[in-house]
């Protein structure tokens, strides 16, 4: 399938680039979000630290993948960055300018800059709007005339592989899951964002359709110069689409590296276990023993120090004492970082790499 945007007349202008190619498109720093839960009728209040001091950057044209298990805070992180859920603390710099600060409203052009695509393709569409109305809604809200918005909506349908002659007047219920997800992607693109946050966009799709949607996403990114923040629990999907991968565990980033580096040489024991848990489609390469035992702990009461230590095969006393920093794993500056005492020179962990005297000065 080919996507051709050059012939399309977009009614909304492109958002101008301010910072130049070296300026990251998105810098999120120190994001924090707590959810307060009522603990039964007479219980006290409990607090879930859904996202705890999360920082990440997305370069221009780059795709950053976030992986982790349920409850690790990856979806909350996405909603904080998009501004859908207000953060308790933290800051977002978008193309060199402050995007939001906690509790401030996002408006105008900035509202357009970041768009989201959700996992459940059915519940994220209005069942009483035709596809044309759905896709025209965003541009109209930004002041485009109904006529222009509808014409563009038809073009967009074609661009995501849904011929408008057949699909323009359909309702979401008349589509398959894969087709609905194409509509969701088109709707996000209709107001010309620069960053697309995709929260498990292919997880609910059949395998044969998953590949179609991933190929479409790669095409759209190349043609429109988009950046993606791609959230998934599926390592193969993240490996395929992402340039850089962030691994989260219980609200915190435990490892971050380029896609090639992290899959070739994961440094955090959780990342290694996650990779080793993935069944291979080759029956000759079966997993002989589970890499981890037990379930992830309750995020209401995370373990002290390193949050992974209760399931970690190499945990030692230092791991319970304090939280390991997300530290650079190489001198070369490839951006491979991990939060593990065992990977940090001079940490006191018995597996911690020994520090050659010559390097000691630069690490301190």
């Amino acid at each position: 399938m080919t996507v051709d945007f050059s012939r399309m007349q977009a009614p909304l202008p492109l958002i101008e680039d301010h910072g130049g190619p070296q300026q990251p498109l998105l810098i999120a720093s120190g994001l924090r979000k707590e959810f307060r839960l009522s603990d039964g009728l007479f219980g006290g209040r409990t607090v879930v630290h859904a996202v705890d001091d999360l920082s990440l950057t997305v370069g221009k044209g780059e795709t950053v993948g976030i992986v982790g298990e349920s409850g690790c805070g990856k979806s909350t992180a996405a909603r904080l960055i998009a501004g859908i859920t207000p953060a308790d603390d933290g800051e977002i710099i978008f193309d060199g300018e402050s995007f939001w600060t906690p509790r401030a409203r996002i408006d105008g052009e900035r509202r357009r800059a970041i768009q989201m695509v959700f996992q459940d393709s059915a519940s994220s569409l209005n069942p009483r709007m035709t596809l044309t109305e759905t896709l025209a809604f965003g541009p109209r809200a930004h002041g485009v005339s109904t006529e222009k918005a509808r014409a563009y909506a038809r073009d967009l349908l074609g661009a995501v592989g849904l011929p408008p002659a057949r699909f323009a007047e359909r309702y979401p219920i008349q589509l398959s899951g894969g087709q609905r997800q194409r509509v969701n992607i088109a709707r996000a693109l209709a107001i010309r964002p620069r960053l697309l946050i995709l929260d498990e966009p292919v997880s609910a799709l059949d395998k044969s359709v998953e590949a179609q949607v991933l190929n479409l996403l790669v095409d759209l990114r190349d043609q429109l110069g988009l950046s993606y923040l791609f959230i998934s629990h599926d390592l193969n999907v993240v490996r395929y689409i992402a340039d850089r991968v962030v691994v989260m565990y219980l609200g915190q980033i435990v490892e971050e590296a380029s896609s090639a580096d992290i899959f070739a040489a994961p440094r955090h024991p959780y990342t290694r276990a996650l990779f080793a848990s993935k069944p291979s489609p080759d029956p000759r390469k079966r997993v002989s023993a589970p890499p981890l035992t037990g379930d992830p702990p309750d995020p209401v009461n995370p373990p002290s120090g390193c949050r992974f230590r209760t399931r970690c095969p190499i945990a030692e006393s230092v791991c319970a004492a304090s939280r390991p920093p997300l530290a650079a794993m190489d001198v070369g500056g490839t951006g491979h970082r991990a939060a593990c005492w065992a990977a940090l020179p001079g940490s006191g962990h018995s597996l911690s790499p020994r520090v050659p005297a010559s390097v000691l000065g630069s690490v301190q």
């Binding site: 059949d206 490996r239 489609p281 029956p283």
Partner: protein, 343 residues
Amino acid sequence: MNIHDPLSASARAGASAPILDISGLAVAYRGGAGWTQVVRGVELSLDPGRCLVLLGESGSGKSVTLRAIVGLLREEGAKVEGRVRVGGQDVTSLTSAELLRMRGGRVGFIFQEPMTALDPVFRIGHQIAETIVQHRGVSWREAMAKARELFDLVQIPSAERRLQAYPNELSGGLRQRAMIAMAMSCEPELLLADEPTTALDATVQIQVLLLLREIQKERGTAMVFVTHDLGVAAEIADEVAVMYAGRIVEHGDAGQVLLNPAHPYTRALTNCVVQGSYRDRRLGELTGSPPDVSRLPPGCSFAPRCISRADDCLRTEPARRDMAPGHDVACLHAGSLSASRPD
């Protein structure tokens, strides 16, 4: 044309009678526009102790086939034809009381979402003991002791405390283990599992898969396992049956089907497994959507999406025929495609 003979599988394996034998199974549901045929002539035979994976996409009829084995469709108002035998007993002719005795007794069932399968207002231990008392007629005390043993079997730590827990007090992984304990409570000869690990996290999924594999081998329980995930199938299957539009289109040993698929649909499925990076290769695509079973084309149901389609595919519905011993496929041109497999 070599019509698939359901007896050939058991003949191969020696004298042991199959624990499960399905022939000519057809299931239809009544919809807005009359009856919709969702399973169309399934032939299956499974020997004791073996694990068969039913692999397919949504709407392929894999879960319906599984439910037909324990006669669950009768209560859903479905029209069921054909014969299902479990250990020589014809399920389709059983009375409701006999069916109840079979479910949870000879045949255990594990569902995808244990939260909806377990009763939220009873303690886990109580629910398992109840099953044992019902089927075995033993005392509560004995049944609770047995439940305690089962929790050890499924490796639930702090078993005493967990037996007293309500389903919502357990994590997803522990709930699924409790569900397996319940399914194993009357030492079934056949275990039916409907996507039991799909809702679990990756690190928990592999634990539950390995547990099932271990229990199944240790106890010699036969298992039919439904999934859409090739990796999960590869991890647990002795044999794989691929379903498409209500029929089995390919069946054979796990290695044969997953590593050397003969049907164009199975090939496309293995081909669109996401691997590598977008920089290196574009993903193999299967064009179109899974079929609408209420409006199937004449001839081969997969023909509209098939890259190797020929004219006769649109006219003739292919029957299953043997490609190799124990490996059969429902495709008119399967043998001649071997040379042209895309990689």
